[in-house]
Structures are given as C-alpha cells and as structure tokens.
Symmetry: D2
Subunit: 286 residues, 4 copies
C-alpha cells in the first residue's frame, strides 16, 4: 500500500494509437504525477487495458469534477473505466459461518493497516464467531437462515448493507449461497474463497473430492461471486503439496492456511483497485 | 539413485501388529541390510503399506528363490507385494508424436544416468523426431496411425514391445489414445503426461480451456494410463503462475517446462520402485 | 496429528544389519502396533536414523519401564535415542517482544488443537501483547531487559520456566538474545524464527540487507537456538518472491506471512517428535 | 515473445510530473502504438523507471533517426535510456566448460525460437561439448586456459567476439573467471549462473556448503558478471526443497534443473530488453 497514491484509474477499450498519451496527458493537466502504471494490449483482440495510480494535491480537483472531465475522453474511446479516490475508504462487510480462519486473517491484517478500508460490520448465520468480532470491536449481526426464511433474512441483510454504505462483501467461508437479490446489487464487489483449485472440484466438500481422486496438490481459489456458483471471475489461486499420509482432516488443516492467504491476496488486489473484470476473466495489475 | 541398493520391496495388506518385525526379520535373515524404509498405516481403513530398499551381497540369493521364500510370509498376510532386483534394468519404450520437449528431457537424463534403465526403442506416429532419437543412438520406429489401420498398427507395436522385452511405456506427449490391447498388457506400467492440473481441464486442448476460464495457475499431471482417459492414478503434479499478459502460446511455452519436469519426476518414482498403486490412487514413497 | 499414536521413538547409531528388525521386534513385544516409520542410512558415514510412531494399549507398560527395557537394546548399538509418550503433553513457553504475528499464529493454531501441547505462559520484554495473551487466557509475564538487569531478569525467567515445568521455548520474534544460562538448560528445545533465508543475511535487519542486495526472493528460517547466533540447526525454511516495486515495508509485510508459517511448521515437527538433531544439522522425519 | 513488437525503450531518471505523457506522446508522433508499458516511481528516492514496447510500420523511421530525436527529450530529463529495435537480432556467445545442462537448455530453447537471437559461436576451455554444439550446427571454439596462457587466450577470445559482433555473453556453467579485459567490454551484457541462492554460499562448491550447513532449500542465481565475483546485479533466482536423504550428488542433480531454468528465465528477460540495471540491483519489467 503506497500512501502517496491519491487516485487510481482502471480503463479498457478497443486498442488504437495514442491512448496512453491522451490519458497520461489528462492526468498531468489535472496536476497528477503518475507513480505506477501498467498497460497491455492483447494483440489478437486488440484489447487495451491500463491501470494508473497517481499522487495529486488534495484540493486540486474533486472526484466528481474529475469524473466529468475524464468522461469526455473515455466516451471518445468507447471505454469501460472507473476512477477511485483514495480519500474515501471502501467499506466492507464480512460474511462468515462457523470457521474462523479467514475472518481472523482479515481482521488481523486490517488491524495492521494492510488494507485501507473500513469494516463496519460482520454478518453470520451462526453466533459462533461473535466473540472474535468483539475482540476487534466490530459489530456482529446474526441472521439464521432456513429454507423458509432465507428470502426474508437476505432482505434484512441487504437493508443493513445499504444503511452501512457497504461497497464490498467478503464471503470468508460463508456456507450459504447468496441469492440474486444480493449478488445483483454488488456486481464484482462480492469476493468468495473456494477451497479447491477451480475448476477442479466444483461444489461441495472439495477436500473429500480431492482425497478420493488422489491428487498430489490441493488448492484454493478466490473469485468474484456470480449467479453461477464457483464460475465467477477468478482473482487469485494457490496450491500446497499433500501426500498419501494426509487424511481428509490433514487436507482441511493444510487447506486452511491456503484459503486465508489466497483470500487475503485477492482482497489486497481488490481494495487497491488492481482488478479489471473482463467477461469471465480478471486482469490483475500487479 | 543409490547404487548400494540391490533390491526393493513394495508391500501392502490389512494392518496388524508385527508386520514390520516379520518383514525386516526376513530381510535380515537373507543377508540384507535395510538402507531406506517408509511405512505407514492409514488408520481409517487399517491399510498397511511399506517400501523397503536394502543392500545385499550379490550371490547370496537369486531373485526367484527370494520370491519363493517371501511368498510364504506374504500369503499369511494376504498381501499385494513385489520385489524388484536392481541388477536387472527395467526396459522402457518411449511413445512420441511431434513435440520434442519430453523426449529430449528423458533422453538427456538417461544419458546422465539419472534413470537406471535401458531404452531400446522409441515409437512414433510421425517421423519428425527421428533425428533426435538418432543423436542418442536409439532406434526409432514409425507407425503412422489412421482410423482404418490403428488396430493393425498397434498389434505390430505390441509385437515390437514384446520382442524387446519392454517393461514400461512412457507416453511423452504421444497424441494418440492407446487401445485396450496395449493398456491391458501393461497394467500400471504406462506413464502419461497430461498438460493440465487434473481433474481440471480433462480432454483436448487444456491450455485453451485454461486460457478461456481465466485461471491464474496452470498445471501438468503425470499418471498411469488406464482405459478411462485422464482418469488413471496420479503420480505427480506441479503448477506455474500465469498472468493476463500470457497468450495461449505463452501457456504452451510455460507448460512445456512443467510437462517435462513433472514427467521426469514421475519416471524417477516409477523406475526406483517408489510407487504403490491403490485403486485410483498412488502411494509415493519419497 | 494422529491421535492413535501413543509413543514415538527417535533413534540413531552407526549402521549395521538387523537394526530395524531388533527395534520393531521390541515394539511388537511390548504390545505396540507401528503406525508410521521412516528409516534411512546415510551411506557415506554409515549413519542409521529412524523414527517410529506406534499405538499401544494405555496400561500395557509405563514410560519408565519402557525406557529401562529399551536401554538394553540401545546400549548394545551405542545409540542416541529418546522415547516420547503422547499422554504427557509438552509444555511450551512463548517469548515475544512487540510483533504479534507469530504469537497470534501459534495461539490460534493451539486453540484449533493443531499442536498437542500446553502453553502455560508467555514471557515478554514489553507489555504490548498482554491483551492478545489475555484473549487466549494465557498468563503474560513482562521482564523488561536492560544491559544492567539482563542477567538478573533472565534468572527470574528461568525460575518461572522451571516452576512451570517448561519443555520448549518458542522465540516468536523475541528481540533479545538469550544468555547461555537459558540456552544451556534447553538444548534443542528453543526454537527461533529468523527473518531471512539463512545463511544469507545473518544478523540485524535482514529485510534491509535483502532490499539493498537486490535479491528476487526473500526467506525465513526456523532453527534451534544455540550459543552461536543464527548458526543453530535449521528446522524449516521457505521463501516468497519480491519485485523492484517492493519497498522495505513491503518486504516486512510479505515476510510476516512467511515467518509465521515457517515457525508454525517447525513447531509442528518439533511437537510431533519428528526432529533428530545431528551436529549442526537436523533430520526431519516427515 | 510478441512478434508485433518492433521497438522497446528502457528509461530511468529523477521523477517529475509529465514524464509518461512526454514519452508516450513522442512514440505516438513517430507512428508507434504502445503494446506493453510498465512504469514505476520509487517514492523514497523519487526514481522514475519505465519500459515501453511498441509496434510501428517498419519504414517509418530508422533507428538512428529515432535515437537522435529521442535524445532531445532524454537530455531534458537527465535520463539513462536505451531504445532497442527488434529487427536487429542480438548476437550471443555461450561460454561453457564440461557440464552440458545449461548449454543444452539454451540451444533447445533457441531452436524452438523462444529467444529472438543469433548464436554464432560457443567458446569453451574444454573440447567435451563439441558434439552437442555440432548437433545444433553452431561453431565451437576451444581455448584451453592455464595460469600462464590465460591472458593471451582471453585476448584471442575477445578478438573472436568482436569479429562476430557479439552483444551478449552467456556463462553457461563456464568454470573460469573472466578477466577485466572481457568484463569491461561487455557491461551488463555478461550473464552468469551461480549454483546457490546468493548471497548465501558465495564462491566454490556451493552444493557442498549447503549440504554441510544443513539448509532445507537450495537455490540458483543468475546475475550480470562484474569484477566482484558473485556480486553482480541479480536477475533471477529460484529454489528447490531438499531433505536429509539427499546426498551432495542429489543436490547437484536437483540443482541442475534449477540452474538451467533460472538461467533460461534470466536470458528471456535480457533478450527481451526487460532489465534495467540500477547500481547493484536490477529492475525486471515483467
């Protein structure tokens, strides 16, 4: 996390000459100094993508003014784009069930200021992790979910998310499927961790599946949640070796370490505006 | 490779007390000195597995005598077992098509004596790699395969394999599916390399599949060939990171490095008798 | 962690035929059933090493009886050996200063029962981490250290360690050098984490050293503490990639993840009696 | 390797606003279309670095014209810079001794067109690898080196390098130290592979050093050769796990795989103009 950065641009459009020049000139004119830039053209589809992070005097321009000005350029190129100002922290809600490892990891990193965000609340379908939330002084809301009440409960959750001006939902081993009512309101803003190397072992109990197939390596995958379960754009993946001596319990234990690190890195990319979603894929600007 | 080792035992059976004692006593009595031993009991299924490698004076006992003597013990425990003498080198045939990277890797390691084997012949459905075979002075046999002649050609191949007393078949990116007539004659003796992290991306063109799914890591898997394609017992796997800048061609290039190393390690385990196949899974004694 | 295991043997001596047979026969005779065994002979020095873990009816034999019986065998082979009974948990004290990541990791894993130990106390030269200790209900003792009082304070610490029957000391980023008075009382029972890939960057500020040398990978090393700083037997190491975009602060952040995982794995080996120290080196029985 | 790329710029200078804009505007004006750009400012030292790769109509401008034009801009910013045209292949000479693994790797990748270079000659102090060179139809020159003739022989080598218009020297496990007369003529153009994780195990026999220290991981390091042995700017490093079962010979075998892959990646960066040397460090633009 570079504290000098005041704004970032994520931008993509059909390629044509002069794009970098136009955009960088714009940033120069509004008083910005580019600190980090990654640009790439995918040749086959002539697809241009760029991330720019810059420093800037605080008072020089408001976010809305900047958006308005930049819109003229972006429209000319038929671009998808977003400018994020660093002075407004993203607000994240964490959804959990009973497993504590991912929640623990996020709250600990948050306390160390690894993420430049606010975490106003945690939502769970079980009360188990309330004391962990309390130890970090974060409010904890339990919404028990049954087949019958799921729709009603999710509407209450949505209400709470809106009231708290939540930007990002982190599913930190939340063992429920979110309904379209929530998914649709947070496009590319819900991050899930799946405990397998997707697309291998989609669905339930991936460690058992891995154990039975006899793979030599297990994985974890963090991705944006979409209506197709486990099919959303992949943000980050990693793996760990296993051997024939490992039981399913050992896989779960080793997998815990993987899940929390993979999720932590995915959040790092997300909160630093390093992710551009393109269809079913992501571009990660490292 | 430890040149002092003269024989190895691979052994599995239902667990019961005294197994290690009985087996190690037997090896002591025939004049063996154990140099490397790995034993493990899978608790849930009470499944006992062991690999023992030992040194022994050459003339002390013949392989057939040793097998006969050991059979008494093994039968008592209802065991699956095999004793391999190191004085008889395994003979391997390599099947290739047009890609040279896996063949190159095997022949180069063989020349450096990394594998204690003989490679009397290479079989291919294309003539492309004949000069590579020639540079290592290994005979190269072309059997062009069409839908019509496949059965007849494979019978000729089988004939050649028998004449050459072949023990192990290495499919070094051989782009044909072997028929049951060959598969059945070499149970757990045909090693394939698949260019994905199985069970992800089974079937054709896994790099294209990986590219389109947008995974962040690609893999390679070496496994024993069975009648179910890509479903055989997995021996070894590994992975490499990719990014959005990588085209399908880049995936193929990075994957080449992975394929040859994963296949090389699988062969290492196989030729050193470190693999025990248990149903759809393998136990690798490292 | 296999709960069926009741005892483990670590054993080494000059190699000679029949060792496995003698030892396994002994275990069979006292009513043990071997669940996991790894044996290896280093050819050049004819050095025999073995770890055996077995299950056994609780009442069949006491630890002192077993030790007495086994001593006869061990003496015959001039062996170094130790038998550990699982019914007596190892008691560990954790030494910390201001960084919380390693302590957090250990306490969290301990709570999840990853380690079969007791942690009766934490010792620190600073009060900072007292609330973390409190949240896990572990007593926290502050001994501020100055040049003048170091010797006196360490004697008090030693007193406390003895009173609590401490077996293992974990230096979880404890920023003081322990004096011989403590080191000598805990041979191969003090585990340190050094934040570099030893033997590179011995001494102070290894992340700064790494940054200035321009390495592409940083590491962490867990080792037994000896009188020669950073020269003790290495237990576990791991690494992570860095790039030119990483500042020293980024190295510290990435290194934190490494330190806690490397230390956690080293403790796993130590507490499961998987480590045999041989001179300046360790044998890890995985 | 992206065949559309016609030229690359490597550029660094003290940071100030407008740099990206100025440079990208220049490339636009000469008819270039930027395909890949990575820029970064090191905040603490206000150090600006950038790599730009672009496509361009072949006839639009000559390299010397382009250099002259760009010089005006670069001088204004007091920059270090270099523009490389892709139409002129870099010419590399490979120095070897008796080990073949690195040479084999480079020649094989070269044949597969992984590197966009010419390799007109191989130089060795031993005749052993002449047939490998011959199998790739590359001329092989033996210069036996003794204390007495070293200076004279190196002058002949230098002569040969000049006659062949050599740009890059690859020390592919060349077991001689190059004298200043050669080092000085090829600043940041001589790439060495050292068989340890530098700065650990500097100097001779690093595998033996690693074995004796008891590290759990070994490494390899590719770096630019400078007058201070093993102290040149590091380009790439990687590691592999070892265990107590590995002899020094096993370390050498495992290390071979590491050495050739690390060297291969370093060459990839070098030949694609992805390396900017800054003092004792490198910036790698991936």
């Amino acid at each position: 996390m570079n504290n000098n950065i005041k704004a970032t641009l994520l931008f993509s459009c059909p390629d044509r000459p002069g794009l970098v020049s136009k955009i960088s000139q714009f940033i120069f004119e509004i008083g910005g100094n580019i600190l980090d830039l990654v640009e790439h053209v995918e040749i086959d589809e002539k697809f241009f993508s760029i991330r720019i992070a810059w420093e800037m005097d605080g008072g020089s321009i408001s976010q809305s003014d900047l958006n308005n000005k930049f819109k003229t350029i972006a429209d000319e190129f038929n671009a998808d784009w977003k400018i994020n100002f660093k002075d407004k922290k993203k607000r994240a809600a964490i959804f959990v069930s009973k497993y504590d490892h991912c929640l623990q990891e996020i709250l600990w990193r948050h306390k160390l200021s690894e993420y430049d965000i606010d975490i106003p609340l945690i939502i769970s379908n079980h009360p188990d992790l309330s004391s962990l939330a309390a130890s970090y002084s974060i409010s904890f809301h339990v919404f028990e979910i049954t087949k019958e009440n799921k729709s009603a409960q999710e509407n209450k959750e949505l209400q709470l998310l809106r009231e708290n001006d939540i930007h990002t939902i982190v599913m930190a081993r939340y063992m429920q499927i979110l309904s379209p009512v929530i998914i649709d309101e947070f496009p590319n803003q819900i991050i899930n961790i799946h405990h397998s190397f997707l697309p291998a072992f989609i669905g339930g109990n991936p460690y058992k599946q891995a154990f039975e197939r006899g793979v030599k390596i297990i994985g974890a995958t963090s991705h944006y949640a979409t209506l197709d379960l486990d099919e959303g754009p992949i943000i980050e993946q990693d793996i760990i070796r296993i051997s024939h001596k490992d039981s399913i319990e050992d896989l779960k234990r080793k997998g815990r370490d993987l899940e929390r690190l993979v999720l932590a890195r995915a959040l790092h990319y997300h909160f630093e505006d390093r992710i551009l979603v393109r269809g079913k894929k992501t571009i990660i600007f490292e």
